[in-house]
């Protein structure tokens, strides 16, 4: 089948200050959510938007807050 590429006996030294994947995925989620809210913001307060615009936007915003609050307070995956 071919030669195995040997893995190093000692892993390379990691530089300090790296963010954990939980933090990075969380930041990515914040950026993504901000992008979506930016897209929606055009209609909020616009004469063409109805009360439903406000309701859906508020619902999404509250859901995002809940996502991060519950996630940060939840026990780790250990």
């Amino acid at each position: 089948m071919g030669e195995l590429i040997p893995t190093p006996a000692h892993p390379p030294r990691r530089s300090r200050g790296h963010l954990s994947p939980f933090t990075i995925f969380g930041l990515a989620a914040i950026l993504a959510a901000a992008g979506a809210l930016f897209e929606m913001s055009y209609y909020d307060g616009s004469p063409i938007g109805s009360s439903a615009v406000f309701g859906t936007t508020l619902g999404i915003l509250l859901a995002l807050i809940a996502f991060f609050v519950i996630g940060l307070r939840a026990p780790p995956n250990e």
């Binding site: 989620a29 993504a32 979506a36 063409i48 859906t56």
Partner: protein
């Protein structure tokens, strides 16, 4: 790719036999021998041997073939989009157009077909088969069933392309119906635009291929399950999470593809056997497929995330139970959402409301998924996480699903959908999901599994990282520009559109985004090619599946973040009850919030739905308008303060309420008035139904653009009517100053305003004056008793061509239309007129003259203040039939088109 168990030994055949395949029939023997003979010959060539893995087992070979074909169709589909957007930018910048109208709308159609089915569906089939075989240690069987499925899927893509004449070359019969087909568009006897029967056969072949693949998958999973379990153990943790999503995919396949078979057969019966047709019912059935297919394909990145995040994190999923709940909810809810593509039709309000509620409900499994995945990473130290291409694309797919998914509730909210339906906002939502989540998830899987498949490590880390960076940057730019254009009110599928500085800039940036994404994929293809020829050897022998994935991914790692791929022992410290409590709280909060949003949206939803389906109460003085859409223009009859008939005009007084009664034939149409300073008008008119709209004309007199929002064939771009708002009855005919101050109520499609005296009306290749439809609104000021008004116009000979409806196409000779004009003394058989817009008598001729080509013409008359229609004010009958090639077998293209007309406003 020999299937391996976790110990690394080759799994033996076990368990259940299938009587039908115990003794392969003679045909199978013949096919096996033929395949072996071809394989042996091709394997002598290094190119074929390496690329198609011809020395490997059959499952590896066919999987590689599917991956290559998927990438091929993805590339071709990508260049379809590139070609479309190149044309859009060329149109906006007055550059020469390189594709005909039919070719450009075919590009959009085939872009969708090739990306959805050739690329993503086929990739999903390849990856799921590969996963099931490798991760579960299944020995695959029934090779020719899988080959047949792959053959049918790829053959369907060719069938979809329709007929092409090679000599002389003519691809204008490629289908231009949109990637989906909305009955009766394309159906012979019911539409002015008819596709060839190959289009419908393509759908049947595609469905047959995918259903056959699903059956093949079920057969091998069934064998694995019987060999592993004594009895059912659905929630004991014995079934891996990714397999739940594989099973969910397989349940969704028939629920998705059977409706499109029904819709296609019904359309074929209506076209070729005289069956009666209910377009709305057909569309409801079609959209059972049309929305399900998106979630069917969305399960690919969901599965990828559930599979890869625990592997990369070296920890089990945060909650197995909630992952299974998410899988079950996805499958249960997906088939029920089709009607949310038909919110603005005459379907009953209850059905619309229920679909909205279910569309909110499907947020729950997505929300559970992304919460679970994020929590799976909680506690993973940075030092134990390797950033490689698999991790990067996993991150992108995760974030992309949130970015695109959060705009899902926007378009799911019915009153909000009035503002966005058919605009590029919807495309922004859709491409965020498809590029930034579905494609990203697919690439995460490919980066993980390609070395396992090929036995070679990725050749270049830099190419992998460049691929990621380009996909991210180009994808985000593309989505944001679609959003910007949608916010302006620009329609989807528009290659003829209002040209403003903002639109031009956004179209250019959108083009850059598309280009960056495509260039990024070239990095991936190059890396793949270099890998199969020059990649270091890779073996998964002795490795667990998880170790094999991590080891394979490491060949694309950022060197500073490399972590040994070996499994680490994991000791659970946080009990399941505590973790699931967090999941439960999150799910509970979400259900409460969604319920609240539903309550807030309900009144507006019922108002919209009942308004479209029925007759609302009319304020005093309402103008009653009956409009009949004939695929590319409206026939309008009015009663009330205005009592007359028009083509492509709705006439009312400033501030007057307008009640529209709408019917259509030939294709679904739409009244789309993208006001920005008052509520929009957005109504879908499905043939066979009567739709309604009630709205108030703007208070500023002027000319407002009313495009048909629903794509209805190759002359979609010219299909724009005008709402002419007259000054209040009895008042003097004021100028357009108020209209200009109010910026035309923000309607992007308002024609530009020019002084008649200095206007320079020049017809372009699309049969429009100055790239505007309606043509520019000309203004003039005269005494109350009347005065001279004059303006100039010209139809250059160079504007006559394949995109111009003014001259029929009867030959593939590119000069045929010009030759016709020359042969007829540069005169077209239409009248260019000036007509007074009389609210009681309709259009009253003031002056008419033949349309002369290549000769500057002057239109002059003594006019009193008022509104006048100028140009070719009645539809032109057009047909495309080069050398008699058009017909039921190739397709037909006719239509009644208006384009060279506008309003003269004399104050």
């Amino acid at each position: 790719m020999e299937p391996t168990s976790r110990s690394g030994s080759v799994a033996s055949e076990e368990g259940v036999s299938f009587p039908l395949f115990d003794r392969p029939p003679a045909l199978i023997h013949f096919l096996d021998n033929a395949e072996e003979a071809i394989r042996r010959r091709l394997a002598r060539l290094r190119l074929f041997e390496r690329v198609f893995l011809l020395e490997r087992d059959w499952m590896t070979r066919i999987t590689m073939l599917m991956v290559i074909l998927a990438l091929f169709w993805g590339a071709v589909g990508g260049f379809d989009a590139f070609g479309f957007q190149t044309q859009a930018v060329a149109y906006a910048t007055d550059a020469p157009l390189h594709l005909s109208t039919m070719e450009i709308y075919s590009s959009i159609t085939l872009h969708g077909i090739r990306e959805f089915f050739g690329f993503v569906q086929q990739l999903e089939m390849a990856v799921l088969g590969l996963l099931v075989v490798n991760a579960l240690g299944v020995v695959p069987r029934h090779k020719w069933a899988l080959y047949a499925a792959v053959g049918l899927v790829n053959a369907s893509i060719l069938l979809f392309e329709g007929p092409v004449y090679l000599l002389p070359f003519n691809d204008n019969y490629f289908p231009a119906v949109g990637w989906y087909f909305l009955s009766p568009l394309g159906v012979a006897g019911h539409s002015s635009y008819i596709v060839s029967p190959l289009w419908f056969l393509g759908w049947l072949a595609l469905a047959a291929g995918v259903l056959l693949w699903a059956g093949w998958m079920v057969s091998i999973i069934r064998r694995w399950y019987r060999s592993r379990f004594v009895g059912p153990r659905f929630l004991s943790g014995g079934i891996p999470v990714f397999l739940w999503f594989v099973l969910g995919t397989l349940v969704l396949v028939p629920l998705t593809y059977v409706p499109v078979v029904v819709a296609a057969i019904w359309d074929m019966g209506a076209a070729y056997a005289g069956w009666s047709l209910s377009p709305l019912a057909n569309q409801v059935i079609f959209w059972m497929f049309g929305h399900s297919i998106v979630y069917l394909l969305f399960l690919l990145p969901i599965l990828a995330l559930y599979l890869l995040v625990p592997i990369l994190a070296r920890r089990p999923l945060y909650s197995y139970r909630y992952a299974v709940i998410a899988a079950l909810l996805f499958v249960a809810l997906t088939p029920l959402l089709g009607i949310h593509h038909l919110y603005l039709t005459t379907l009953p309000g209850a059905a619309t409301w229920l679909t909205m509620a279910l569309s909110f409900a499907i947020v729950v499994p997505s929300a559970i998924t992304f919460f679970s995945l994020w929590m799976t990473l909680k506690g993973v130290p940075a030092a134990r996480w390797e950033w490689n291409a698999v991790a990067l694309f996993t991150l992108l797919s995760f974030a992309g699903a949130i970015f695109g998914g959060l705009t899902g509730p926007v378009v799911a909210t019915v009153p909000w959908d009035v503002d966005t339906h058919n605009s590029l906002f919807v495309l922004a939502h859709f491409h965020a999901i498809t590029i930034l989540s579905i494609a990203a998830g697919g690439f995460a899987l490919l980066y993980a599994l390609f070395p396992i498949l090929t036995g070679r490590r990725w050749f270049s880390r830099r190419l992998a990282h460049a691929h990621f960076a380009a996909t991210l940057a180009g994808g985000v730019l593309l989505v944001l520009m679609m959003d910007e254009l949608g916010n302006l009110g620009l329609l989807r599928r528009a290659v003829i559109f209002p040209i403003t500085p903002q639109v031009t800039l956004d179209q250019l940036l959108l083009f850059i985004g598309i280009t960056v994404v495509l260039v990024g994929q070239l990095f991936f293809v190059a890396n793949g090619a270099l890998t199969v020829f020059r990649g270091a050897l890779f073996s998964s022998q002795g490795l667990s599946f998880d170790e094999a994935v991590r080891s394979a991914a490491q060949s694309t790692a950022l060197r500073s973040s490399e972590v040994p791929p070996a499994d680490q022992p994991f000791h659970r410290r946080v009990p399941r009850a505590r973790r699931e409590r967090a999941e439960r709280v999150w799910a509970g909060v979400l259900v409460i919030l969604l319920s609240g949003v539903l309550v807030v949206a309900t009144p507006g939803t019922l108002t919209v739905a009942n308004g479209i389906a029925g007759d609302p109460a009319f304020p005093s003085g309402t103008e009653f308008v009956t409009a009949y859409g004939q695929q590319y223009f409206w026939t309008v009859n009015e009663s009330g303060a205005v009592s007359a008939s028009f083509d492509n005009l709705i006439v009312a007084y400033a501030g007057q309420w307008i009640s529209l009664n709408l019917t259509a034939s030939g294709a679904t149409q739409s009244v789309y008035i993208p006001f920005r300073s008052q509520p929009m008008v957005n109504v879908q008119v499905v043939p066979g139904t009567i739709a309604h709209a009630l709205f108030q004309a703007p208070s500023a007199p002027g000319v407002y653009g009313v495009p048909d929002g629903e794509y209805d064939g190759p002359w979609f771009g010219q299909d724009v009517a005008a709402l002419v708002v007259l000054p209040p009855a009895g008042s003097s005919f004021s100028s357009l100053a108020a209209f200009q101050a109010a910026q035309g109520s923000g309607d992007l499609y308002d024609p530009p305003i020019q002084s008649a005296a200095s206007a320079d009306l020049v017809a372009n290749g699309e049969g429009l004056f100055n790239y505007s439809v309606p043509a520019p609104t000309l203004t003039a000021t005269v005494p109350t008793t009347g005065g001279p008004v004059a303006f100039m116009w010209v139809v250059p000979l160079s504007s006559i061509g394949i995109d111009n409806y003014l001259v029929n196409v009867t030959s593939t000779n590119p000069n045929q239309q010009i030759d016709y004009v020359i042969a007829h003394n540069y005169t077209l058989p239409y009248q260019f007129g000036l007509y007074h817009l009389d609210p009681q008598a309709g259009l009253v001729p003031v002056a008419t003259q033949p349309v002369r080509v290549n000769q500057p013409m002057t239109e002059s008359a003594t006019l009193r203040p008022g509104a006048y229609v100028y140009g070719i004010a009645t539809p032109v009958a057009y047909s495309y039939n080069p050398n008699g090639e058009s017909g039921l077998s190739t397709g037909e293209q006719t239509g009644l088109v208006m384009g060279l007309w506008g309003i003269l406003w004399v104050s």
